[in-house]
């Protein structure tokens, strides 16, 4: 891959730099251009990513469809996130004066999106680490500084410290993976896993490293066991930041997990190594149940959406555990529109679907955020349908999509995961997903019922309803229905991305294995002496 392949990220980072400078301007009218600059940068990045996604680009880079999927997702959903953040920095009191960090917020947002966009383009543990941190670091600041309330600062400190802990955990895993293979290059690590698996089972150091990486990254996707921060952080952060958090770190974490499991060649079925995919499946099931059951107990809407985001991570983890293998009866690779879809394609489709529907739901909450958090709980949105029928309609559509009602993109997402589970001969998993969807329907429908069936307790006041906010909610809702009815474009991208991941190891999939590597590599005998016994 040459520099041309990094064009979307370069555009985003350049826009972030311009916004930072622009945010220093003393005149407020100039600072208000930050949003427009962010929007322009993301549109340019989306166009660049779209051009890079054309067939035939970077043919020597086997994971390129996955990489362009990440870029398209980052810039496309990022556009909606910028529209939803139009009123940032969030003001808890209408009397607060405009603060100076207006520019910084959008610069941080763009940096984080650039990290997500870069995620699938890395071929080295060092770059994977840098991309993950580029995604996370700006979000820590966005949570803590996005809102003046002490709740936001509490959320920020929790998010930051646990984030640093999770970074240390997966980095420890990276150091062991490096120790296992003797190189940080993905190609060498994959080759080392391949030869170790051919001999029997990989050494303990590789498995410990792998487990710690999964554990550390499960923080980013808010999966069990590192999920418990999510409700507090989602509740405390300003709602536009929450919307951003529900999407960016999660997408980045899942792409990183795909890359990490790709190192193992998806062949961890032998005795001891088989524990890793089994553990992944178990984590997926536990995550689903924890998210959905705890969401039933919540009154605060942002907490409900936080637990729902945990549950959706569970569905996506299940898709990840199914891996890239296609069932034998599936259509041949390269032929789209077949009846079967592999787990990773289902995961990518679900990731995009989840981003759209959760962003739509949060955009409505942002729109409604009246005086002193009026839209925080069920009472806050009671009778919404009477006063703001369009907002209630958008919210209802997004919630129906989160449930998985036919006609919405959420239905197709769940359908593909269930289909992949059945094709991989995991009927129990499919049943568990359906049961969880039914549990989840309870709390989503409770929100819909509050909006449509109850009378308003207090008249809902909408402060400064920016056009951009309405637009983000409307566009997200439109896309939820549009991709639900005409999934073609999204389906093609996610199937291409999912199928680009090889199902078995082959050296041809790792173009980076050059003479340079063997020059810095170690003598094979020394490695055998340490790890092979």
């Amino acid at each position: 891959m040459n520099l041309h392949g990094l064009l979307p990220e370069m555009i985003m980072l350049a826009a972030a730099a311009v916004i930072l400078l622009n945010g220093l301007c003393p005149r407020e009218s100039v600072r208000r251009a930050s949003q427009w600059l962010a929007l322009a940068g993301l549109v340019a990045a989306f166009v660049a990513a779209w051009r890079l996604a054309a067939p035939g680009q970077h043919a020597g880079w086997p994971l390129w469809p996955l990489a362009t999927f990440g870029s398209l997702l980052a810039s496309g959903v990022g556009l909606l996130a910028v529209l939803a953040s139009w009123n940032m920095p969030f003001k808890d009191q209408p009397t607060e004066t405009d603060s100076a960090y207006r520019g910084e917020y959008f610069a941080l947002l763009l940096c984080s999106l650039a990290g997500l966009s870069m995620m699938a383009k890395v071929n080295n543990l060092i770059w994977l680490f840098l991309a993950l941190e580029l995604v996370s670091m700006p979000t820590y600041i966005m949570v803590a500084a996005g809102r003046g309330q002490s709740a936001a600062q509490e959320a920020g400190v929790k998010y930051f410290f646990l984030g640093a802990l999770s970074a240390a955990v997966y980095l420890f895993g990276f150091s062991y993976l490096y120790g296992f293979a003797g190189s940080t290059r993905f190609s060498t690590i994959a080759a080392a896993f391949h030869s170790a698996l051919a001999l029997g089972h990989p050494p303990a150091i590789a498995l410990i490293g792998l487990l710690m990486v999964v554990l550390g990254i499960s923080y980013k996707i808010a999966a069990v066991p590192l999920h418990y921060y999510a409700p507090d952080v989602y509740q405390g952060a300003a709602t536009p930041v929450t919307a951003f958090l529900a999407f960016t770190p999660k997408a980045a974490g899942f792409i990183a997990l795909i890359l990490v499991f790709n190192l193992t060649g998806w062949q961890l079925s032998s005795s001891l190594a088989g524990a890793v995919p089994a553990l992944l499946m178990a984590l997926a099931v536990v995550t689903m149940f924890v998210g959905n059951v705890l969401a039933l107990l919540q009154r605060n809407l942002k907490r409900i959406l936080a637990y729902s985001s945990i549950a959706h991570s569970g569905y996506m983890l299940a898709a990840l555990a199914l891996g890239p293998a296609l069932s034998p009866e599936a259509t041949r690779p390269g032929e789209l529109g077949g009846s079967s879809i592999n787990g990773l394609s289902a995961l990518l489709f679900y990731l995009a679907a989840y981003s759209l529907m959760t962003l739509g739901a949060f955009a409505v909450l942002i729109y409604l955020e009246g005086q002193t958090g009026a839209a925080e709980d069920f009472d806050g949105i009671a009778g919404l349908a009477g006063e703001h029928p369009l907002a209630a309609g958008c919210m209802a559509v997004c919630l129906f999509s989160l449930i998985g009602m036919p006609g919405t993109v959420g239905f197709l997402g769940k359908l593909f995961i269930v289909q992949a589970a059945l094709a991989a001969h995991h009927p129990v998993l499919a049943v568990i997903i359906v049961i969880n969807a039914a549990i989840a329907a309870t709390y989503y429908l409770r929100i819909v019922a509050a909006m449509y069936l109850r009378a308003a307790a207090t008249p809902l006041t909408v402060r400064r309803p920016a056009l951009a906010l309405k637009l983000s909610a409307a566009v997200a809702t439109f896309l939820v229905i549009f991709f639900g009815l005409f999934p073609g474009a999204l389906y093609r991208q996610s199937v291409a991305g999912g199928r680009s991941v090889p199902t078995v190891y082959s050296a041809a999939h790792w173009p980076g294995r050059s003479a340079k590597r063997t020059a810095v590599g170690m003598p094979g005998s020394a490695r055998a002496g340490l790890w092979a016994n």
């Binding site: 543990l125 060092i126 680490f129 840098l130 941190e133 670091m137 820590y140 600041i141 803590a144 002490s150 709740a151 600062q153 509490e154 959320a155 920020g156 400190v157 929790k158 930051f160 410290f161 640093a164 802990l165 970074a167 240390a168 980095l171 420890f172 990276f174 150091s175 062991y176 490096y178 120790g179 003797g182 190189s183 940080t184 290059r185 409700p231 507090d232 509740q235 405390g236 919540q298 009154r299 605060n300 907490r303 810095v520 590599g521 170690m522 003598p523 005998s525 020394a526 002496g529 340490l530």
Partner: protein
């Protein structure tokens, strides 16, 4: 690679793991925000020792260049942590994490 390399590598790895474990325990047991942050730094130092040990063992520079990146990210995290700590201290006049537990549900 001579036969002495292996025990030395294992000792360094044990040191790295011990530092990581001490940091983890400190992270969970300490109540002061600055000490919690120092515990995460300790965990990072354990990782750095791992990387350097492997780098010496394999006679390549990948681990050492990784360390440079880890150090710079850790420095950025330190700046962020101190900023957060100052922000929190101004508001509550304490650095005890138990003072920050309003968000529950």
């Amino acid at each position: 690679m001579n036969s002495l390399a292996q025990p030395i590598l294992l000792e360094y790895l044990a040191l790295g793991a011990a530092l990581f474990a001490i940091g983890l325990v400190g992270f969970l047991a300490r109540r002061n925000l600055i000490l919690i942050f120092l515990s995460t730094e300790l965990m990072f130092q354990g990782i750095i020792i791992n990387l350097i040990a492997f780098s010496c063992y394999y006679q390549n520079t990948a681990g050492q260049s990784f360390v440079i990146f880890v150090l710079s990210i850790a420095a950025a995290e330190a700046a962020l942590a101190l900023g957060l700590v100052v922000l929190l201290f101004r508001r509550r006049r304490t650095l005890n994490v138990d003072a920050w537990s309003d968000l529950r549900g």
